[in-house]
């Protein structure tokens, strides 16, 4: 059927084909191997018929058609088997499928609808073909494919004849992996928990402090007291330290909460009167009398001063909305007394310098703000 030259060339072709398929398989994987095998088989069939060579595209098409033929036969036979309430196909399903495909071409006895599948014309054609055709075995011995990797299941507790670690774990479950494999994770989680625990107190403290602030603000007067306390301490600190450092502190204090702003304004009004007072003091030189008073009852005066300050500032909070001047005039009498106290409470040695500094600072603040 085929001359030697054709055979040799085809052999070379098939080998080349195989190499190509191997190369492709590495690249693409999936179904490339099966397609290559189909191509070789189709090439062998064509060679048996007398073809000497082929176009690659034609061979690809023919191999693809052949593969589709196999798959369609399988699909049809499977559907016929399922139609007969079977899951496994038998020869009659296959013959039925072959008849379906042969009906395009026609086969002997196709016109008889009730013919027996045993004597189907398609089968007779196939039998004739097998008898006539030269038996050409496949050129290569190929392994069964696709290779399915066997999965090794880990034995269950029942198979390993061990008892599960806990009662709630049924024995049919696969054995748990060694504790070493997940012990590290546990320790990690523990560490993470610890970190969380460490972090949490800070958060709670912050939260509680902020919530306390809020609560105090809601309470109103008390909030004023607290913030004023802080503010008074601030003022004292600012007075004692470098006045240039005082400003950032006050700005930083802004974000504490709303009452800061009225407190600051209050301070401004206070400072205004204080500066006036200081100036008055400078003018009238009335220090000796105050110094005497300070030397007499300094320790008990501190308590008094605080109380006075709180009360006075609370009042200011309530009346603040009206106007500065009225508040200032209203406060004047109170501030005079408190100012004296605060002056006495200041450093005895350089009280005058202190007063000057605070007066300058407050004036500067006023200038900046207005």
């Amino acid at each position: 059927m085929s001359d030697g030259v054709g055979k040799d060339s085809l052999k070379g072709l098939t080998e080349g084909e195989n190499q190509q398929s191997n190369r492709k398989k590495k690249k693409l994987g999936t179904d490339e191997f099966a397609q290559a095998v189909a191509r070789i088989a189709v090439a062998q069939v064509c060679e048996g018929l007398g073809f000497q060579s082929f176009n690659q595209s034609a061979l690809d098409v023919l191999a693809d058609v052949g593969v589709r033929y196999i798959r369609d036969i399988g699909k049809t036979a499977c559907s016929y088997a399922n139609l007969a309430n079977r899951s496994q196909c038998n020869v009659f399903d296959v013959i039925q499928g072959l008849e379906d495909f042969g009906s395009v071409q026609g086969f002997p006895g196709a016109s008889d609808l009730n013919h027996c599948l045993l004597g189907s014309g398609v089968v007779r054609d196939v039998i004739r073909y097998v008898a006539q055709a030269e038996e050409i075995p496949f050129a290569y011995s190929i392994p069964a494919f696709p290779v399915v990797k066997e999965r090794i299941f880990s034995p269950s507790y029942a198979q390993a004849e061990e008892n599960p670690p806990d009662e709630h774990i049924p024995s049919w479950l696969p054995k748990f992996p060694d504790p070493d494999t997940y012990a590290d994770k546990d320790s990690e989680t523990e560490v993470a928990n610890k970190i969380l625990l460490v972090e949490e107190p800070d958060a709670t403290v912050e939260r509680s402090s902020s919530s306390m602030h809020r609560r105090l603000i809601c309470n109103g007067s008390e909030a004023g007291v607290v913030v004023d306390k802080v503010d008074a301490a601030k003022v004292k600190l600012a007075a004692e330290s470098n006045p240039f450092l005082a400003q950032p502190l006050q700005f930083g204090e802004k974000d504490v909460l709303l009452p800061v702003v009225p407190a600051k304004l209050l301070e401004e009004t206070l400072g205004y009167h204080r500066s006036r007072k200081v100036l008055d003091n400078h003018l009238s030189k009335s220090m000796p009398s105050t110094n005497e008073a300070a030397s007499n009852n300094a320790p008990c005066e501190t308590e008094d001063r605080r109380n006075i300050l709180f009360n006075e500032r609370q009042n200011v909070h309530f009346k603040f909305g009206n106007s500065k001047k009225s508040v200032g005039t209203g406060m004047c009498s109170q501030t005079e007394g408190s100012e004296k106290n605060s002056l006495w409470f200041g450093d005895d040695c350089d009280g005058e310098d202190e007063k000057k500094r605070t007066a300058e600072k407050v004036l500067r603040e006023n200038m900046e703000i207005h």
Partner: protein
Amino acid sequence: MNGQTSHPQPKDGRHDDDAALTEFLASLMDYTPTIPDELVEHYLAKSGFQCPDIRLTRLVAVATQKFIADVATDALQQCKARQSTIIKDKRDKQQKDKRLILTMEDLSKALSEYGVNVKHQEYFADTPSAGLDSPPRDE
């Protein structure tokens, strides 16, 4: 099916066919189709076909082989017919090219008779010598 093969029926009418089929299936055990069993099994399994019987696989393989052979025979006839139409004085020049080559042109004609419409593009660059010296395939 095993019953069919192991118990040849008495010969009359339908039982004749039965015997023929049984004999044929039995003969398939010794026959090795060109299409390897592994390939057919692979694709049958892909299509949902379930049968442990190797003879059915062989039957499908043989039927497919026959189908391919029919198509290829038609294509071969087309090829021969095309070559015979070449003018005789040119035939000497083209003696070298008178080899029987499976081409898309012939194959598409042959397949169209089997209900498969194959059309390849006119400018498709496919060399007749593709794969002869196993060069890298470029289509």
